[in-house]
């Protein structure tokens, strides 16, 4: 029965000054994290373009940095940081986490991975676990999205391990949008492509630094045109697509290209 005294010897005896030091480290880390989580998004939302994205993306990284520094400062206060002590402590913690808090710990670890690998950052437009929206917060355990319907969706980082993450802009302020047009086959396809390109070039939302492409695909019921272009700001994506759609339809009508809905597959 020597285990109990050995485990107790792991910890330093905490006198009043040690407790105070510990409280200061934890308190400072807590305050710093709260401050950066509020201040940086507040500031970023007053900026536009690249500055906004880079500032938002720095929030989880900065928080991880603060946490690491806090742990590095706090651990030597609580235990004697020898190899033997660390192995004993981590073994005990691993057992507890493995049995009781597996998913929670998995999400926390995925959160650390997410901070480094950055499959999503605040400001990115992602599809995660079937939800599409703008990442507004990357926490320790979860990531929060705001969908186009203004719903706030929280997804645990755990999903990173076994599901795909579709990221529309991947940390940059450029996001491709596409507007679809279904057209009756009897029309001048060359003219239709030209005019759809002009529709994109004359949209007030267009980002001129990125290319405009009109893709055509022939189906058995008609022709599909897809304008691929980029708005000035990813947050304009739905207004941009609406603008392209409305003006694209007008333009196609002017050249006599009638719309045609895709034919549904017939049931056997």
């Amino acid at each position: 029965m020597d285990d109990t005294p050995d485990l107790a010897r792991l910890f330093n005896s905490l006198d009043r000054s040690a407790w105070l030091e510990l409280a200061l480290v934890v308190g400072a880390a807590f305050l710093l994290i709260r401050a950066e989580q509020r201040l940086l998004p507040w500031l970023a939302n007053r900026l536009h373009g690249r500055a906004r994205h880079y500032l938002l993306a720095s929030v989880p990284l900065l928080r991880l940095l603060i946490l690491l520094v806090a742990i590095l400062l706090a651990v030597p206060i609580v235990i004697e940081p020898s190899l033997r002590n660390m192995v004993a402590l981590l073994g005990a913690a691993g057992l507890a986490i493995g049995f009781a808090l597996k998913d929670y710990a998995s999400s926390l670890i995925a959160g650390v991975v997410a901070a480094f690998e950055q499959p999503y950052r605040p400001g990115d437009w992602v599809e995660l676990d079937g939800h599409y929206g703008e990442v507004v917060h990357v926490g320790m355990r979860t990531v929060a999205l705001v969908t186009p319907d203004d719903d706030y969706v929280t997804v645990p980082h755990l999903k990173l391990w076994d599901s795909a993450v579709r990221n529309g802009n991947n940390g940059s302020p450029v996001l491709q949008c596409s507007a679809l047009f279904h057209v009756h086959p009897e029309h001048d396809a060359r003219r239709a492509r030209e005019i759809l390109e002009d529709v994109a070039l004359t949209s007030p939302y267009l980002n001129f630094d990125e290319p405009v492409v009109v893709v055509t695909k022939e189906e058995d019921w008609g022709t599909v045109y897809r304008i691929r272009a980029y708005p000035v700001d990813p947050r304009q994506q739905f207004r941009f697509v609406s603008d392209l759609t409305v003006r694209g339809r007008e333009a196609l009508a002017r050249i006599g290209a009638r719309p045609r809905l895709p034919r549904l597959p017939t049931l056997p």
């Binding site: 002009d198 529709v199 070039l201 007030p204 001129f208 000035v232 700001d233």
Partner: protein, 456 residues
Amino acid sequence: MSTDTHPRTHAPPADAPAQPATASPRACSPWKIVPIADYALPTDSQPALLRRRWRSFARLLRGDGEDSTQAHAEAELRALPRVRLENLVPPLDWAPAAAALDEALDGGYDEAHDEAPAGARAAHGPGVHVLVCPPACEHASVLAHWAKAHDARTIDPPDAKRILDEDVRWLDELVDAADGRPWVLPRLERCFLRHASGLALLRGVLELAFSGRLGPGLIGCDSWAFAYVQRIWPLPEATLLTLQAFDGEALAAHFVRPHLDGAARRVDFRIASSGKPLLRGPEGEQADARAADTGDAHSPELRQLAAHVRGNPGLAWHYWRRRLRSAPEPRGETGASAGKDDPGRTRRQLATGEDVVWIADNVEAPALPAESGEDDALLFHALLLHAGLPASLLARLLPLPMARIRSKLLRLEALGLIEAAPPAGAQAEPCWQVAALAYPTVREFLRSRSYLTDAF
């Protein structure tokens, strides 16, 4: 409407001081037309900026100021009366810019106009050049002067209906009207609309011009429209010219020195906050006066103004007019007897022949409200890309309802950010444009939001 309209093109009044560009040799003229690649923005030098800030900080600490007895609080100063302002800052005369354009082209048009061998003409291309100028620098006026001097044919832009109807007969008319003389298309920005049907005539006219079917000619284009046109129909770089930016020295040569060198009535321009002369020599006030006369003086204020307006002389003209002030009437001098011939001058100034004009430190430029958002950005951008638009066309080009556009226009006008130019020609409604004093703010607003901006 503001009393400060855009600088107009006309001959200076008889009593106005001679413009330095016409009075001095061409080499000394601040008006220079350069290839677009040689355009250089004026900068306010960093060490000078730091030194100036340190000096004002030190003065603040000391609690005194050199020449403080002569300095005037800006609130006490009065705006100059209109007549006096017109005398001191007459409307910009764009004829020297046209002369500089001629020099830049080196008489190529007269030669091209002569019976040059077809092979030689082909080797030099179709002889078409594009003059690109930022807002408030009136490229159309420059080209009008040039056209007059060269008996060139002026091509009027199509109206909005023809543009939107893609009426290509306009292009045929241009070809039919070609008579061998050089031609001038002064406002390319009026040849297109940012609409799916609004680009055909632009592409058509550029194709005609650069294929040589119209013969040698000149195209004028606003810098914002040019930024857009480059994405639609990239123009050959060798043909692009622009008005070189004015630095502080050029602004001094244009706005200040005509009132010093040999002027019938010498004007003493002084900084309101410090009481110092505007143009300063290396030492002392006497040295300042001598240096100002000999052209050796410098002015940090004018250099700063040049940097603020990005070297745009048209904008500088607006700012300069707003900064000029006269001293308040000393007690006992008010009355009908003071300054009968010149309402801005006090009796004491008239008696001594002394004429002091104070330069206010800052011009209160219109500010954007904090809630300015995407709709404002779209509106400003459309106005700048087309160098002004009527409300009905804005409604066709923007994805905003007419009622919202009208309410926004009136609100922005009330804030001084845009202004309505009176209807011209067959136009039935006013043309809205970004106000000159608001232009730097609006440009920065659009740039910070990653909208397509000009390079000037």
